[in-house]
Symmetry: C2
Subunit: 150 residues, 2 copies
């Protein structure tokens, strides 16, 4: 089955060290396949140095900081490799900023950020790994962040 | 990025010629990654002889007929390759039987199969590609089969 070997990509992004089983959530964050027609390859439950992991490889696309922050929330150990001309042009570990704004919906239904006011959700990042965040307005710490990503 | 080449598998299943963009639905049908820890690789929007397609490759797993029928419903052109000892032991195109039972929920809320009676859903297959089915009890033809797969 030679056709199944996935070749290195010329330009694009490789997201490595995704927590095992989370690759499909990463695709969902990146609106794949719905919003994009580029070639994507995914490996689930492969062996890495630190146990099982997932990998997502996307041709001809680089991620914006908002997308990187969402990936950091669900997979704090992920690394992003930017590929240009078959070379790794940049490589970095995802890292959440001190605050994330407009990325996660607060789990408190009475929070001002859920009140149809012109107020974007705003969270303080209190832990990178595991990712823990706390609402700037009501101090609620949402337990299931993945489901609350906007 | 040598680590990203996906090698041929020793034992397992390759689902080829999945309609482009439908690989994630196939994973959902197969309860991946939730129910399984085996290595899975996915290629989305790759070039095939007949245009773009998706491929799903699962190590150390062979599909049961019920799973194959579900794949046939969402991707009538898919082919299943059973791999044993690095060789293609069997290869076939998915094909729906004349009737499918207990696989799709009827879209008619008043259908007997939706009435908490001990009656399994039962559909006549009226077209393989595109897949069209008709309820044996109420004759309704569900339009969005994918969402109704049980």
């Amino acid at each position: 089955m030679k056709e199944l070997k996935i070749q290195p990509i010329e330009n694009g992004t490789v997201i490595d060290h995704i927590a095992a089983g989370n690759a499909i959530k990463v695709l969902h964050i990146l609106d794949i396949p719905k919003g994009h027609s580029s070639i994507v390859s995914v490996a689930i439950n492969v062996k890495g140095h630190l146990g099982k992991k997932d990998i997502v490889k996307i041709e001809n696309r680089e991620l914006d900081p908002r997308e990187v922050n969402k990936i950091a929330l669900i997979s704090p150990k992920a690394t992003i490799n930017i590929i240009r001309g078959f070379e790794v042009a940049d490589k970095f570990k995802v890292k959440l900023p001190k605050e994330i704004i407009g990325i996660v919906r607060c789990s408190n239904p009475t929070c001002i950020s859920n009140a149809n006011e012109p107020v974007k959700s705003r969270f303080k990042v209190i832990s990178q790994d595991p990712s823990k965040i706390q609402c700037y307005y009501c101090e609620r710490e949402p337990d299931d962040i993945v489901k609350r990503i906007i």
